[in-house]
């Protein structure tokens, strides 16, 4: 095998030059226009809320909580390498509501289970989000009778509804991605803000503050 030595060129040369610049800056050798140029090139300016939301959306901790048959699909999403939730930083499944911040309602919500779910939701720490997965959790689905709550949004604020009976894992993945957009502050998904209904969440005693909303995109 023939080994050849080539000069650094193009992008790699530029990277090397920036590395050297950073070294110089740390040593205090950069001054004046050079320092100005280096800072402008190497810093990314953002609002604190945006950075915070970016971190939040890439570190969702889902609650390991299944209600019915949709839970099988949910387990496929949160537990299988095929779907690989780690891509979204959401692979850390927590089995206690105290450490989780995403509740996936995977299945039908019976009238007897509703207060339990509400309690689990209350136990989760802010900021927290809820995905209503499948037809049953969203609207009682095929079980339109005395036993079920027709739509979990009667007792919980829901962020994303995933249709399907049950939804395919891909659909839930898409729902999680939509939730990420919402956490980042996409104005199209903040229905509470859209309808100016922040602070209307039901709660015991004092109302529960809505998840932090950056206001990003309001000007557009």
């Amino acid at each position: 095998m023939e080994v050849t030595r080539t000069k650094l060129s193009g992008r790699s040369q530029e990277m090397r030059a920036r590395g050297l610049k950073a070294q110089q800056m740390l040593r205090g050798e950069l001054e004046g226009a050079d320092l100005q140029e280096h800072v402008e090139k190497s810093l990314l300016l953002s609002r604190f809320e945006d950075a915070q939301n970016w971190a939040r959306k890439n570190a969702i901790f889902p609650l390991g909580f299944g209600l019915a048959c949709c839970a099988i699909e949910m387990i496929t999403v949160i537990g299988s390498p095929r779907n690989d939730l780690a891509r979204f930083g959401a692979e850390a499944i927590r089995f206690t509501p105290r450490q989780a911040d995403l509740l996936i309602l995977s299945g039908r919500v019976s009238t007897k289970m509703a207060p339990v779910i509400r309690r689990i939701y209350e136990q989760m720490l802010e900021p927290k989000w809820v995905i209503s997965m499948g037809a049953c959790a969203s609207s009682a689905g095929m079980f339109n009778n005395y036993a079920l709550v027709a739509g979990a949004d009667k007792f919980l604020p829901i962020d994303v509804y995933v249709p399907g009976c049950p939804p395919r894992p891909e659909a839930l993945m898409y729902g999680i991605m939509q939730l990420q957009d919402k956490i980042q502050g996409s104005p199209h998904q903040g229905w509470r803000e859209r309808y100016r209904s922040a602070g209307t969440e039901e709660g015991l005693g004092e109302s529960i503050p809505a998840p932090a909303y950056s206001g990003h995109g309001d000007d557009a």
């Binding site: 009238t111 007897k112 009682a140 339109n144 009778n145 005395y146 036993a147």
Partner: protein, 173 residues
């Protein structure tokens, strides 16, 4: 399964052991033997069938309720007995009215009836006298009514499809 003749023999033995009015009817269909008994003597009949009969049934496989609306008496309670030794099954049925839905509990004979009687109470409103802990088991404790009765409203919400959206305009308002 006792055959039709065997069922008549069982009925005869029950009648002589308990009383003549205990067995209301016998039915043998689709290979299944059914003994219909008067509600007042259910406990005695099951006690006899478990302990004293010459062909005993020591196992209660299932206990469940039923609503036969519009027939009267409406409510039915079915006991499905099984003999593990002889591999024979026997159904014991009783019928109750909605006005007087009281029945003697069989928990003292068959402990497995504990949860199943609670279920029948929950869904059909049959009151089992002598049950140690007769509470609702599946519906919430404060639920009103017995939802598996046939005259109980279905509940739920009307669903708007394209074919009925004009019949139910804005029902949710």
């Amino acid at each position: 399964m006792p055959d039709a003749t065997g069922l008549e023999l069982v009925a005869q033995r029950v009648r002589s052991a308990v009383n003549d009015d205990a067995v209301v009817d016998t039915l043998h269909a689709h290979g299944q033997a059914t003994l219909q008994v008067a509600p007042a003597s259910v406990h005695e009949v099951l006690s006899h069938l478990r302990d004293d009969d010459e062909e005993p049934y020591e196992f209660l496989a299932s206990l469940h309720g039923c609503d036969y609306l519009p027939e009267e008496p409406r409510l039915g309670v079915h006991y499905q007995l099984l003999s593990m030794d002889r591999c024979e099954r026997l159904n014991v049925k009783t019928r109750l009215t909605v006005e007087e839905p009281q029945l003697h509990s069989v928990v003292d004979l068959y402990p497995t009836a504990h949860a199943q009687e609670r279920e029948v109470y929950d869904f059909f409103g049959v009151e089992f006298m002598g049950h140690p802990d007769l509470r609702r088991i599946l519906m919430p404790e404060d639920y009103v009514g017995h939802p598996q009765r046939r005259d109980f409203p279905m509940g739920g919400e009307p669903v708007i499809f394209t074919f009925n959206e004009h019949e139910l305009p804005r029902w949710y308002d």
